[in-house]
Amino acid sequence: MIFNQLMIFGNELLHMLSSPVNILILFGSVLMGIIFGALPGLTATLGVALLTTLTYGMDQGMALTALLGVYVGGVYGGSYSAILINIPGTAAAAATALDGYPLALKGEGGRALGLTTTASAIGTFIGMFFVVTLSPVISQLALNFTSFEFFLLALFGIIISGTLTSQDLVFKGWISGLIGLFLAMIGRDLLQSYPRFTMGLINLDGGLDVVPVLLGAFGIPQIIQVLKEDNESSEAQSIGKVFPDFRTIAKNIPHIVRSALIGVGIGAVPGIGEDIAGWVSYGAAKNSSKHPETFGKGEVVAVISTETANNACIGGAMIPLLSLGVPGSPPAAMLLGALMLHGVQPGPMLSIDHPTFILQITAILLLASAAMWICGIYLSKQVIKILRIPTQVFMPIIAVLCVIGSYALGMRIFNLYLMLPIGILAYTLTEMEYPIAPLVIGVILGPMADSSLRRALMVSEGSFMPIFQRPVALTLLIIILITIFSQTKFMKMFFESISKLFKKKPAA
């Protein structure tokens, strides 16, 4: 069985490597992803969203190569601007800036980039390993899921995403998720075709298209935020030679393994994503360090840990995406939309409908991590020149790309009319510290939540008892309730008083 899988994996790799067009697309998309990640204001999610439109007409394999290439490159690319100008290109690289920039100031920018490149490649590789081992197992388990489990899974994704990504009040995250759920309700419902919240507009009968919503939610707020501040671009530090410091990498293998596990674990939780993985890994590295006071002053362990984690998170995010159809991060949410456009429905049936799909994804991730390493080590100086492009020049171009990206997929001008108000709503919510990831998760998982709930109740004839009779459903319900009630003041005070009981009293 394992031998069979290895043979198929090897075949997929050979098939990809044997096509020069595939190699070109792989390197091109990884480079595009690195540029997107490096430029502050652009994100891997936006890169995947824009490429979804461009790859729509492509063969499925090529399209997947391009999308995963830009995803992997985009998450890694954030380290460039984090190290060189102390402005993380993506939120995932925010923790990298803390120690990466001081390294650049010491004249070790090339070494820092070499370390982040190698650490990111290793992180992607480890994440890929977990995708291929865990996804089929979870898919098998999920084949026993009924509609109640899927409804609770969707709800869990929204609640946990809202809880963990909210920087202000936790219920702002839940509000964001519920707004996303509401947006998913617009249009004719899947079971009875009743028009909901369409306000008589025929164009809304089909609901909101995912790509314009995501472009609006991720692209427009960035454009507004970056240009509203209208700062001159910072001067990047010079880097000298970028070299892979394998000796330092070898010395820090325990940190790499720990960070990769953190990245995969956090990626597997719906809707959270690479930025949280980076910070948690940074915190874990600092707490486990014998010299935590060196963190923030150019500590290489910090840089290695954050970059390994945020790239391992890619693999982690793919696990629930492929096995359950629940995206583990915002770029994975965009990938879900792209996969559905190509006729692939991620979820428990994936292994049955497309038996070699997971292995294909694994092969692409492996090649993407290799391509990312090559581009990072040998093309970094060219990519750094891109950082000199003023934001006032490339942000309007990004606006045009968002417009054409929203329009091109369905060739509907109405998508443009939708994209802008959603973008302005997302900007307003971001300004008031509402996280956008739960909104996106709500939009993506809303149809699944709606149809699953009604199908479940149809089968049980209106009874919720099956939730208490099925272990997975009951577990999900308990986790959801704990997540919600643990945020209330009463429960926080309760947990504080419990923890005080276990704290040692100081000696008199």
Partner: protein
């Protein structure tokens, strides 16, 4: 005023918006068939299309109330009302951030709602990019304000022509009337802004602005039109010329 205080003030407003929205949502949801028959099918509550919308509405209402209570408890509501009473009649200076925001919204909204559906796509992009890039890249507040006002006025006039029906009438006389008008407007913008750029000593930034404004659609339009075979929103005079050239070469 601290950032936290401003946040709590905005929480007060958003909580009210959220409560009103959730009430509207619930009223609309209860108007959907719950037990009546729809399309020949007898409904029951647990299959009704309003099931999840009601759940969403109730949760949003509850969270809106929680947000309202929090903003009152943390002083956000009181602070907002006091500030409104104190500053309500005072002359307010518009900050640069607000000007930037207004410019961005004018540029984006006019581009999406007004220009793209009616003007050749190549010219739409060129016009949008040139205004957007020049306004911000020149890094001159006075120029930004003046250009923004002039652009907004131009778009307002265009909107009036569209709403009044004059746009349709003029375009029916000659199909590319407004494409020609926009082309002239773009050229006027370029020449006027060039003079200002020379005066400000930023000719290099002007050069970047007009080159990017022309190069971007020159690259994007052929890629989407001839490579990806996407029919563009409005294929006017410029794209017609590009088609003639493309098919002549092909």
């Amino acid at each position: 005023m601290s950032e936290k205080k401003k946040l709590r003030e905005s929480d007060f407003i958003t909580s009210l918006v959220l409560i009103i929205f959730s009430i509207w949502e619930l009223i609309t949801s209860f108007g959907m068939p719950m037990t009546e028959s729809y399309a020949g099918v007898n409904n029951v509550w647990y299959v009704a299309p309003s099931l999840l919308p009601i759940f969403i509405g109730v949760c949003l209402f509850g969270l809106g109330i929680a947000l309202l209570i929090n903003s009152i408890r943390t002083g956000g509501a009181r602070s907002l009302i006091t500030r409104f009473r104190r500053d309500g009649n005072a002359d307010k200076k518009i900050s640069e951030g607000t000007i930037n925001l207004l410019l961005i919204l004018v540029a984006l909204c006019s581009f999406v709602y007004l220009v793209i559906p009616r003007i050749d796509f190549f010219l739409s992009i060129t016009n949008f990019l040139f205004f957007f890039i020049a306004s911000f890249y020149f890094q001159d507040l006075k120029f930004k304000r003046q250009y923004g006002l002039a652009y907004s006025l131009g778009m307002l006039i265009f909107a009036i022509l569209v709403i009044s029906g004059a746009f349709g009438v003029l375009n029916s006389l000659f199909r590319y009337t407004f494409d020609v008008v926009f082309l002239i407007a773009i050229l006027v913008q370029i020449f006027t802004v060039r003079k200002i750029a020379v005066r400000l000593g930023i000719k290099d930034r002007f050069r970047v602005s007009w080159i990017v404004s022309l190069a971007t659609p020159a690259l994007l339009v052929p890629v989407f039109r001839y490579l990806l075979l996407v029919q563009l929103p409005r294929e006017g005079g410029i794209i017609l010329l590009m088609n003639l050239l493309y098919y002549a070469i092909k």
